[in-house]
């Protein structure tokens, strides 16, 4: 009989970076890299677990923009091209490293990895959403939704219509993909503002997650801290709080597992290391060096000198870390079980892209964690939030505190000198959208298309990723451009609609470019 639960949450999200207008677009690589390095390896891990009869539970966000890109034929086609190029490059690498056995074995490892990626990709008919859906249907995975375009809700509170649109578009999109309503949501950036649970409830969503202080600083005090979910006062929507101890072991840039010296070094990529003419066909067509995904070194130590990667050592370390992780959860749960009247739940959320993309051994680690928990002990059981709520329907009622899981725990990452200018425009656009919905409560034909597109543009402008990039200070120009482009398109649609003068040719063009959420209904923005 288990004494408590572990709820692993992988938050899978990428902003909508589809650019049909260019043959090669740098930012689309974010998607391709994540497919090769994160989503496909995770799918392989889940497949093997199912084949081996290992029971497991994982909760995973697939953000609506990510789902849209994964199911987009143009991007699927381009991914195939991308992976074929990598296969070609790894063949060349095997030849080039002929006199360096250390590196050649790694080149072979990459060739195998890329070929396997292509095979799995084709096996699911290029649509990885169907792979994740399969594990959901098997009861192993609980897929939750997110804000439609990952808008940061706390800074949208002044126009709740937009929060509602973010939630409703996401919920409807989820339903169209998975054939049922989402039970849970990952609030973008874990950003909660009191009262938004009302909007979640309207959409039929039963639970969300907050960072630890969202619950610990809630009112009244949570009796079980973050180790049991609470219901939001007035709505009964459940809120699960992040357990920072388990988070720290994986996340922490100082003491976390991914920094182990035997793990693969992310920042040494042949895209930057090799001779220019040789690598030229595999980097950006403009000639800018970029990551290819072929990385030959291990972290080695704090300095710049790096040793070749040794997959065996890394595998061993991943197994050790998985054991350590499980042991710590056992201890934690044993301790908590002593003074709680119900079985504690430890919620450990991570960005999905941490596994595989940043932390190459992450999927392997996850595989070990799941197998060990399933086979080696009885105290801890993996669980999804839905299952937990079914088992534990009685929970304390509180008002969680505003919070996010970003830097400093609140909104500063998305609201600082470098990005505060966007809100004036975003809020004005939200107001205008509300105004349009009020004026045209039942539009059809061209007008309806324009109104739907206006909402798409507004949603795309709201993506928290742009403000985040502006906040970090790197790759700014793309984030500025995306924010402005969507707002400018929105403003022009607004003017066109107001003046009853819709330029169909132009509308078709932006419908083609920003083709997210084909089934959108502008009336959700109210």
């Amino acid at each position: 009989m288990n004494k408590g639960y572990l709820c692993l949450v992988l938050h899978g999200h990428l902003p909508f970076v589809r650019h049909p207008e260019h043959e090669n677009f740098l930012e689309e690589d974010w998607l391709y890299e994540a497919i090769t390095e994160t989503y496909l390896p995770l799918i392989s891990v889940f497949e093997k677990l199912v084949d081996d009869g290992i029971d497991f539970r994982i909760t995973m966000t697939l953000s609506p923009t990510l789902i849209s890109m994964l199911s987009d034929p143009l991007l699927q086609e381009r991914y195939l091209k991308h992976i074929n190029t990598l296969i070609e490059l790894s063949h060349k690498e095997i030849e080039r490293t002929n006199w360096q056995p250390n590196f050649q074995s790694l080149a072979i490892m990459y060739l195998n990895l890329f070929c396997k990626a292509r095979e799995t990709f084709e096996k699911y008919h290029r649509n990885l959403v169907s792979a994740f859906k399969r594990f959901q249907d098997l009861g192993k995975l609980e897929i939750i939704t997110c804000g439609a375009t990952h808008g940061y809700f706390p800074l949208m509170d002044v126009c709740k219509e937009s929060v509602r649109a973010q939630v409703k578009v996401a919920a409807n999109h989820y339903e169209s993909v998975f054939g049922r309503k989402p039970r849970g949501i990952w609030l973008p950036e874990c950003g909660y503002y009191p009262g938004h649970d009302e909007i979640l409830k309207e959409a039929g969503i039963r639970f969300f997650f907050s960072d630890s202080h969202g619950i610990l600083h809630g009112t009244p005090r949570p009796k079980y801290g973050v180790f049991a979910p609470v219901y939001c006062k007035g709505t009964g929507v459940a809120c699960f709080g992040r357990d920072l101890e388990s988070s720290k072991q994986v996340w922490s840039s100082i003491e976390g597992y991914p920094g182990d010296y035997n793990y693969r070094e992310f920042y040494r990529d042949i895209g930057f290391d090799l001779e220019y003419d040789y690598i030229r066909p595999y980097i950006h067509p403009d000639g800018v060096r970029i990551n290819t995904g072929i990385k030959y070194y291990r972290i080695t130590g704090p300095g710049n000198i790096k040793e070749p990667y040794n997959p065996e050592w890394a595998r061993e370390r991943a197994a050790q870390h998985a054991g350590n992780f499980m042991f710590n959860r056992q201890k934690q749960i044993e301790h908590l079980n002593g003074f709680m009247q119900k079985k504690p739940i430890l919620v450990s959320p991570y960005d999905a892209e941490l596994f595989g993309h940043w932390w190459y051994e992450g999927p392997m680690w996850l595989d070990y964690v799941i197998r060990k928990i399933s086979c080696d002990q009885d105290e801890v059981r993996l669980i999804t939030p839905s299952e937990y709520l079914e088992e534990n329907p009685r929970n304390q009622v509180i008002i969680p505190s505003m919070s996010s899981w970003g830097w400093k725990g609140y909104s500063e990452m998305w609201l600082q000198g470098s990005n505060d200018w966007v809100y004036r425009h975003l809020h004005a656009a939200s107001d205008r959208m509300t105004e349009l919905v009020k004026s045209f409560s039942n539009a059809d034909g061209l007008l309806r298309r324009a109104l739907n597109q206006a909402l798409r543009e507004l949603l795309l402008a709201q993506s928290s990723d742009w403000a985040f990039i502006l906040g970090t200070g790197t790759h700014i120009s793309y984030a500025v451009r995306r924010t402005k482009d969507h707002l400018l398109r929105f403003n022009r649609l607004y003017d066109d609609i107001k003046s009853n003068f819709i330029d169909e040719e132009w509308l078709s063009d932006i419908e083609y470019k920003d083709n997210v959420f084909p089934g959108i209904d502008y009336r959700v923005h109210q």
């Binding site: 960005d351 400093k408 725990g409």
Partner: protein, 342 residues
């Protein structure tokens, strides 16, 4: 000052004019935003004849509406918006339109120019604010050009509302725009407990500490609170945000900007009959359609003996060429100390 005022008057006049114009031309093609109109008058930019003829063209006007190049400077609405950054800080931005200022100028006459612009921040915790029943307020003076501000409330767990307005010489405050009301979160555990779900203080302290990943010890007092804040605010546990942008895995920092790496590669190339069989170090390689080939190797230190053998398709002729290459790497690392003598 006078010049500034003049420009402003002109601007507001233009805005008014263009607003009026806009009304007249609703539905017509030549509609312009007030801002672009403004720019044109100020910078003396004129619509060219070509453009004019374009706009008057009855058929193709649909594609002619210009795509705006930049976001509007203003949206033509009096508005102030308040947002919460964290338990202590608010952010506000506002817009006041020309006509509103004109009205104020009319009403206040000279007092308008003597007035100070300020943000009046009201603590409206647990009350329905009617403009005069705030618990307290404090003022932040801002310049005329300012349109946004970060406000240090020093008051977690309170509700706030902000007015942007004018402080007249006689001490009267005139609200121009009033914000929405927001609540700052508390920065520690709530002092309110729920009878039904009561928990002893000491036990909550343990849960609280554990919730922040501080192990199972029972931290007490201020030191404990500080540790919690540190854990929360160090950024160590923050989400890396957009997953493709930031890694939780630390990047090794370069000590100095100067750096140097050197590697050697060897290119072996040749040609033979297109249908011949060629092996390099015993491994068969693929020839290009014209019979040529190029091989590229990372060249490690040491000696490489590279026999390249070609065999004719009928296996009658065979030739071998063997380059022998050796690489020896030496390196020196000299860092000069330099003094900052002038």
């Amino acid at each position: 000052m006078a010049i500034l005022r003049k420009i402003k008057e002109k601007l507001s006049a233009i805005t008014k004019k263009s607003v009026k114009k806009q009304k007249e031309v609703v539905g017509k093609v030549t509609k312009k935003t007030p801002v672009s109109e403004m720019k044109k008058e100020i910078f003396g930019e004129h619509v060219t004849a070509v453009e004019q003829s374009k706009y008057s063209h009855p058929e193709s006007h649909r594609a002619r509406r210009p795509m705006p190049q930049d976001l509007p400077y203003q949206y033509g609405k009096d508005r102030i918006v308040l947002m919460v950054r964290d338990p202590w800080w608010l952010h506000t931005y506002w817009e006041v339109t020309g006509p509103t200022y004109d009205r104020l100028k009319n009403d206040l006459k000279d007092d308008f120019y003597k007035a100070k612009r300020l943000l009046r921040v009201y603590d409206v915790t647990n009350i329905i604010f009617n403009g005069s029943n705030a618990h307290r307020h404090f003022d932040v003076y801002v310049s005329e050009q300012t349109t946004n501000w970060y406000i240090d409330t020093a008051g977690p767990g309170r509700s706030w509302c902000v007015d942007y307005g004018l402080l007249l010489p006689d001490g009267r405050f005139i609200t121009i725009v009033r914000s929405n009301t927001v609540g700052t979160p508390i920065d520690g555990p709530s002092w309110i407990t729920d009878e039904e779900w009561m928990i002893p203080e000491e036990m909550f302290a343990r849960l609280y500490g554990m919730g922040f990943g501080l192990g199972q010890s029972s931290p007490v007092g201020k030191a404990w609170q500080e540790r919690v804040k540190q854990a929360l605010f160090s950024g160590v546990l923050a989400s890396p945000g957009m997953a493709s942008m930031a890694s939780p895995v630390k990047k090794g920092e370069k000590e100095r900007k100067f750096w140097f790496v050197l590697d050697c590669e060897l290119i072996v190339y040749g040609a033979t009959e297109p249908d011949a069989k060629v092996t390099v170090q015993g491994k068969e390689i693929k020839l290009r359609p014209d019979g040529s080939f190029t091989l590229r190797y990372a060249l490690p230190d040491g000696k490489q003996v590279i026999p390249v053998k070609a065999v004719s398709s009928d296996e009658v002729e065979e030739r071998t060429i063997t380059p022998i290459v050796s690489r020896e790497t030496k390196s020196t690392n000299l860092a000069k100390e330099f003094s900052k003598e002038i």
